[in-house]
Amino acid sequence: MRLWKKIVIGVAALGLLALGGFTYMVGGPRNLIGMLRYDQRDEGKLQVGDRAPDVQMLSLDGKTPVKLSSQIGDKPTVLVFGSFT
């Protein structure tokens, strides 16, 4: 076999191995497809030192609009963003 063929096969094998390893790392092919289609992680524009933007939120009973700024003021405030899933 010619040298260049060996190199091509070697590179292809390494590529497949890396793809397999990555797929395993992210939790299987379903999670890999999910990540490729739905990953919305974003660094965002806010920086330390910026003013925290005010936003309108909803209460758990769904009836009361609450401004984030109303929760900020007398003490430092830890904001925790997240969801059930």
């Binding site: 003013r51 933007p53 909803l58 209460s59 758990l60 963003f81 997240g82 969801s83």
Partner: protein, 132 residues
């Protein structure tokens, strides 16, 4: 986070912003959520999101004040909170800590380190671990 909240309850406000689902069943569903029976489609109305937030609060007996990002996602748009993220805002409304997006950038121990530095008088051992 609950241990941390209790530890600094007198000195720090903790607020949860319930944002769009990270792993709904019609998008990037995770096997771990299937195992735990946490299967919801991505809400298309604020009412649907509020319902899931209430399920979440019940399931974990969640104590921290929690508010829901309306379905237009204004809080997530402003803060890039998805899928999970911490910020600390000081009394003047200035951002003093910005965490990175989870899961890999989600570090309660960084939040605790900031609080411990600001309130050295609280002392005691670590209330949070990297996985909590």
């Amino acid at each position: 986070m609950e241990a941390l909240r209790k530890k600094y309850a007198d000195r720090v406000n903790f607020v949860t912003l319930y944002i769009k689902e990270a792993h709904p069943l019609d998008e990037w569903q995770m096997d771990s959520n299937v195992d735990e029976g946490v299967c919801y489609p991505q809400p298309t109305t604020s009412e649907q999101r509020i319902k899931i937030a209430n399920d979440f609060v019940k399931r974990f007996s969640y104590q921290m004040p929690l508010y829901i990002d309306p379905i237009e996602n204004p809080a997530n748009a402003a803060y890039a909170g998805w899928p999970e993220r911490f910020y600390i805002v000081d009394e003047a409304g200035t951002i003093v800590y910005k965490g990175k997006p989870g899961p890999f950038g989600y570090h309660p121990e960084e939040v605790e380190a900031w609080l411990a530095k600001r309130f050295p008088e609280v002392g005691g051992g670590a209330a949070s671990s990297p996985s909590s």
